[in-house]
Symmetry: C2
């Protein structure tokens, strides 16, 4: 009997490995490749106009017969059009993030979607469960991109959220390998959501300069910044260093907004400006060493997870007290 | 056959559970209780004058026939007298922290001590191995007390350090339960160092007000502060909030030093001033729910670790690719 748990049953997938929805990085090519490999691929709607999102959904449907999802970060004011596209296109699974789970869950559930909410605290996990969500992504401080203010790490956040809700928990933040996936399972997660490693897939639409910068990155090369606006973990470059310096000097949110300007994420991650672009990536980038097909990433993580389980099984324990 | 690995062999202990050396908290009573329970107890020398340290070492020897250690944080200028006491008293194991592993390792090794260095980066782990240390403590961002500047979390730090050194790695930061201990083992650790949970032991010399504040603490109640002096994770109180506010406004290190003043840690952790004292504790405090004898803490963590291993064994995996 193959692997099965509440998450594989909920999403109707083979492996409890989920590729994070990421702005400018995860379009139909990446999402369909991950779903075809047995995991769950997610289209990142945050960088797409509604009709662009529709095109990506339709292309994903043509590229895979397996379940896939759309991630909608609630950082932007008017999401009705995106939600309409998702419902019209009968997207089976929706991951909502960076907002209040009350806002859209009922609408999406009524339309037949499985709804997952991404949270960075037990408080919001409880709100998501109360709002009717089917599962939770618990995203730790080490994760790339937008993040919580409490700075709770995956090691602490997953057990805290497990104690607070009974719906299944998906761990995110600091996970790129099968060993880290096993650590997440030890903490009580029933699946993992992986971002940074999939940025370095062949199918991701990240610029090759960005992929190469990740391969070269070391410990300490990312930092959580823009805390007074919306906290986000960035690869340090000229832009990030300028923002971090302003924050250290006590700059106002207005000044930070001005410095951020518009189009920074596209400029960095999609267009490959390694100096002035915004580069969202997790701490785990320090562990990523090659650009691979998404399918190989999924299967390598799974193989390493299985090997790590077998290694732990070899621990002999019979010291009783 | 009971549990055995490189750490239990190196320290000659039964269980790979180490109680962190903590200023004002871990004297001879706590250290000997943990060692008697089968783990490794550590006297925290950071808050002791050399002759006070000698007394604690002698009392520990009388209270247990098992191995124990002393932790020396290298934050203070003149440590020769402390090192002399350690050598004269034939302390079997020494944990050095917050400094350069080159400074004391050779001296301590020549005196017959097992030497462990606490680090927060792979860079320093390599330096510790090169200096001749016998093992490494990899301490993540979520840990209480003094911490690194890179903010690397346990989930990422342990695998990074495992890739960088061949001596055994002890994981610290975000660990208070058997499930978290198993997560650390999945990441490649061969033991765990646990601080916060032992603050809430009967035998710790933390003030009862401090212990109670930990029981009541929730997610987001700690923060890493004093980054321009020596980064330290604190429970938020009037003192910590004042420091964090100053830092946010861009205060100089001089102003921060002045605000910190002298004796803050003693005032908070030992004397129980919950408003104006410095309270060093990890993020995992949000998961700690009771004050227990140290022996019960050690054995409960071990029991939960064994149960978590057995739970993982029940995962059926035969989806091959």
């Amino acid at each position: 009997m193959p692997f099965t748990n509440r998450i594989t049953q909920l999403f109707k997938i083979e492996l409890p490995i989920i590729q994070a929805g990421m702005v400018w990085v995860s379009g139909w090519e990446l999402a369909s490749a991950v779903s075809n490999a047995g995991g769950l691929g997610i289209i990142g709607a945050g960088s797409m106009y509604p009709e662009v999102l529709r095109t990506h959904i339709q292309k994903t449907k043509r590229a895979t017969s397996k379940p896939f999802a759309v991630n909608v970060p609630m950082l932007y004011p008017d999401l009705q059009a995106h939600i309409n596209v998702i419902i019209e296109e009968k997207v089976p699974i929706v991951f909502m993030s960076a907002g209040n789970p009350k806002t859209w869950t009922a609408t999406l559930k009524a339309a037949g979607c499985v709804v997952v909410h991404v949270v960075s605290s037990a408080l919001f996990a409880k709100k998501a469960e109360a709002a009717g969500c089917d599962a939770i992504v618990a995203e730790g401080f080490e994760a790339g991109g937008h993040n919580g203010r409490d700075e709770t790490t995956t090691m602490v956040l997953v057990p805290l959220i497990k104690k607070s809700v009974s719906i299944p928990v998906i761990a995110a933040g600091g996970i790129a390998t099968g060993q880290q996936m096993l650590a997440a399972f030890a903490l009580g997660a029933e699946a993992v959501q992986i971002g940074s490693r999939f940025v370095c897939s062949m199918e991701s639409s990240a610029h090759i300069h960005f992929k190469n910068a990740i391969l070269q990155s070391k410990e300490g090369d990312t930092q959580l910044g823009l805390k007074s606006l919306a906290p986000v973990r960035l690869l340090k470059n000229d832009f990030a260093n300028a923002i971090l310096a302003l924050e250290k000097e006590g700059a106002s949110s207005n000044l930070l907004s001005e410095q951020l300007g518009k189009g920074r994420a596209k400029k960095g991650m999609f267009e490959g400006d390694m100096q002035e672009g915004e580069l969202e990536i997790g701490q785990v980038s320090a562990l990523i060493e090659q650009i691979q097909p998404a399918k190989d990433i999924v299967h390598e993580i799974w193989k390493d997870f299985c090997a790590a389980v077998n290694h732990l099984k070899s621990i002999s324990i019979n010291k009783e007290f």
